[in-house]
């Protein structure tokens, strides 16, 4: 048995060796490499995905939904698990709004463990995908933004990106309020890639509602009207502000050209721009109302004050001409406004003087953002009085040498319309359940008497002998001012590019509706009376009865 013992000893040694090797290997895997392998296990089993926080709604003043979020789904793939990409793409394309080719592209990386097949499809479409039960294809809950009014007020409301983050407009500016906080979810899936469990790490939150002063119906009408004008005159752009002059509430901020809020990536900067606050222009003749207002408040003129008006007037090195050459005349202040006399405006401005004129311009809010509450509002360009050149007072009284936004112009005109009080306009009436009050107090900038006299004079603009005699809304007395401004180019003024504008209100004696219309670079015609004033008429014709405003 000696031999057996010896060989048994060898076998026993072999046994101990194998046992030790196994134990050592287990210790290596579980002790030394344990953490790393546990992490590997987690990596292949658990995917962390965001749960989109649903965004709050955007409503107009009547409660019409302008933007809302709805449940959606995103279709994802584990490409290496998809057996037959061609056939799979075919089957998916039948139920999804994505082309077969795009799906094939998504599935083309055969080694990939993740790919998007279709983002933000409807819940019904996602259900259809789930019913196909294709191995390697699954759906994740998502949320998508819906704009029930389509392109309406797209530049104002804005748009969101795929992650439901605000990209433009109020969606972006008030993202903190409207946007929901994304939550995080862990998807635990089995070896086949089928999701087994969803663990919520952090809950998604729903964003707060936003209520605007915009009225969807008036907005729609305003957009139609400026689009018609923009197209008719092949303009570079157009915008309109509709305001309640008594309260400063903005009823419409219309911009043309528009864009598809579902596809903001396709839109140009021009299309994305909310021109009512982001476009600056030299106002031209619409500004003369403030020149006259300043002179009246300073007690220098009354509507009946008569001026001697030569065909041209020289201020420093500059010769001011009228739009249409005329002989020497005598004209009252009211006539100067109605016929939009440049020479007259310069004469009135000269009476006021640079220092006081500058004060008055600033009093009407020019050179400062209106505070309407839209992001990135421009403040325009207003020279410091110390920087006035010799010819400045030959320029500014007739609306040249400064730039303004449509919103500034509407806001300042509202002070004339409402009896002399300048108010910060308001676009958002309620955010996150909290009311954003109107500027009820405002700042008195004109006496009621002056304001009333100005309104009467502005009626003359749309009357016979005015610059916009053909604008009318049956049953209502209108008032307003035309503007036809040559665009400033490299130190001079363009002969071909104009900004045609009109600011008007109704009823003339007790205005309850104010509209500012600005058409940028109209072709064929360029006068405010022809290009912009009819747009005002078009909007007012709808809005006045719509708002229940009696002809007064």
């Amino acid at each position: 048995m000696q031999l057996i013992d010896r060989r048994l000893g060898l076998i026993f040694c072999g046994f101990l060796l194998l046992f030790s090797v196994a134990l050592a290997r287990a210790a290596w895997l579980q002790g030394v490499r344990g953490g790393e392998l546990r992490a590997d296990a987690r990596t292949q089993q658990v995917t962390t995905i965001p749960v989109p926080g649903e965004r709050g709604r955007v409503l107009d003043r009547t409660g019409t939904v302008l933007a809302v979020s709805e449940d959606a789904a995103t279709v994802i793939a584990t490409p290496y698990q998809v057996k037959n990409p061609k056939q799979t793409a075919q089957r998916l394309a039948e139920v999804l709004p994505v082309s077969r080719g795009e799906i094939e592209d998504a599935l083309s990386d055969r080694d990939s463990g993740f790919a998007y097949v279709a983002k933000k499809v409807s819940v019904d479409e996602a259900d259809a995908v789930d019913e196909l039960q294709i191995h390697g294809i699954s759906t994740l809950p998502d949320s998508r933004r819906i704009y029930p009014q389509g392109e309406l007020a797209a530049q104002v409301i804005g748009s969101v990106n795929d992650e439901n983050e605000g990209l433009t407009g109020l969606e972006q500016a008030l993202d903190d309020t409207v946007g929901g906080e994304n939550g995080e979810q862990e998807v635990v899936h089995d070896a086949r890639g089928e999701p087994i469990r969803f663990d919520t790490l952090t809950e998604a939150t729903t964003g707060e509602d936003l209520r605007l002063t915009i009225d969807a119906a008036i907005q729609a009408r305003a957009e139609e009207a400026i689009a018609a004008a923009g197209e008719a005159y092949s303009a570079a752009g157009a915008s309109a502000v509709v305001m309640d002059p008594d309260t400063g509430d903005v009823l419409a901020m219309a911009n043309w050209p528009g864009f598809d809020p579902y596809d903001p990536g396709d839109a140009s900067d021009e299309q994305l721009l909310n021109r009512t606050t982001g476009f600056t222009y030299e106002p031209g003749s619409t500004f003369k109302a403030f020149t006259v207002a300043a002179a009246m408040e300073e007690g220098l003129v009354s509507p009946e004050t008569s001026f001697y008006l030569p065909p041209t007037i020289k201020v420093a090195d500059r010769v001011i001409e009228e739009a249409h050459a005329r002989p020497t005349i005598h004209a009252t202040v009211a006539e100067i406004l109605a016929q939009s006399s440049n020479v007259g405006a310069v004469k009135i401005g000269t009476e006021v003087g640079a220092e006081r004129f500058d004060e008055w311009v600033r009093r009407f809010g020019f050179g400062e953002p209106t505070g309407v509450g839209f992001p990135g509002e421009e403040q325009g360009i207003l020279l410091d009085v110390d920087d006035y050149s010799g010819s400045t007072m030959g320029n500014m009284p007739l609306g040249q040498g400064l730039s303004v936004t449509p919103m500034q112009m509407a806001t300042a005109y509202a002070a004339i319309a409402n009896g002399g009080i300048l108010r910060n306009p308001r676009l958002i009436s309620q955010a996150a359940g909290e009311a954003r009050p109107r500027d009820t107090e405002g700042t008195r900038v004109l006496s009621p008497a002056t304001a009333s006299q100005l309104r009467s004079m502005l009626e003359g603009v749309v009357a016979a002998g005015g610059t916009a005699p053909e604008v009318e809304v049956p049953g209502y007395e209108l008032a307003g001012k035309t503007g036809t401004a040559e665009k400033a180019v490299d130190g001079g003024y363009s002969e071909t590019d104009y900004v045609a504008s009109f600011v008007g209100f109704a009823p003339a004696r007790d205005p309850e509706l104010l509209v500012a219309v600005i058409v940028d670079e109209p072709m064929y015609e360029h006068s405010g009376g022809v290009v912009a004033a009819p747009v005002f008429g078009d909007i007012a014709e709808f809005a006045l009865p719509y708002l229940g405003i009696s002809p007064g």
Partner: protein
Amino acid sequence: MEAARPLTLPGRRIAVGTRFNLAYFDGVMMAAALGLIAFSIFTLAAATADDIPGSPLYFVLRQGIYALIGLVLMFAVARVDYSRFRELRVGIYSIMIASICLVLVFGAAARGSRRWIELPYFRFQPSELAKLLLIVALAAFVIEHRRRGGDWRSTVRILAIGLAPAALVFLQPDLGTALVIGVITLAILFLSGVPWKHFAAIGGAVAAIAAIALVLAPAAGVPILKDYQQERLTSFLNPSDDPTDSSYQLRQSQIAIGAGEKSGRGDQASQTELNFLPEHHTDFIFAVIGERYGFLGAAFVLSLYALLVWRALRLLTFSKNLYGTLIAGGIAAMLMFQVFLNVGMNLGIMPVTGITLPLMSYGGSSVLVTLMAIGLLQSIHIQAQLASRDSRAPNPLLR
């Protein structure tokens, strides 16, 4: 203990009862075996609860029944004097060969191989039983040849007897079991005192065959191993080759075991739960243990096997005759090799061969045969004790 009751065997009448006594059982070996079975059922209960919807105890109940039947068989085998099997060697060997041939002809196919015979309520795997039958028969043949000394002819003959069933099993194809049978044959040859130079020759032949099968034949366009076998045998050497195919199981198994770290993840054992670990109730149950119970669990199971194999090896010196020594050696080698092959596969240091982990893996054939093997070991133990008691010599096995 048990009341004396005569057992009648054909031809002669012996009083087994007085000789068959639980006190002569190897209690340590029993404890190790029962511990493994209990741990198997415990692990299956936790790991397979979701495998068959509606029947959380599907595998537990069946494994429990197999274990019970196995234990009955173990006792039955244990009370028989193993020495009697020597006379039956030709019959046993014939039955073994016949059963493997049967499966080649009538076997149920699964994944390209025929390994099972469908029986009512049971799927029997003859190659499992063949291992045990071969040990019993081969040990007897060795003793017969041993009288003629350790010449080349008898070595070759024993080798042929042992490798014939290995070849048949390999044809099923069941590479793992064929390897186990080969190792059993070599172990019995080794213990029977075959000269070292014979082993050197055998070793040389094995190396040559391996080289031909794995390298030369495929290169010459004559595949001996099936593609998947070749892949399995080589993939563990470079597991990162292709994460989605042959090394996938090895990779997942290592992740599972590693993720268990020191004390295990318990019900957080996601590799098993999420089916990343394939065959988690059979071939890869060690990985389940590694993940659920950590290094502690893995070391515990390995210790139970160490205990079992130690008690088997211990019998080699104390057996009352060489036949018992060779049987115990064959069984010890079988257990040792299977455990190492399976655990090594789970740990990623051995190829995937489809060898079960004795007593731990779910499966009737494996559990039954392993318990019968332990019954044989118990028989050797009992007979050794009885012999020493009869000879009035101090019993070396009694502590």
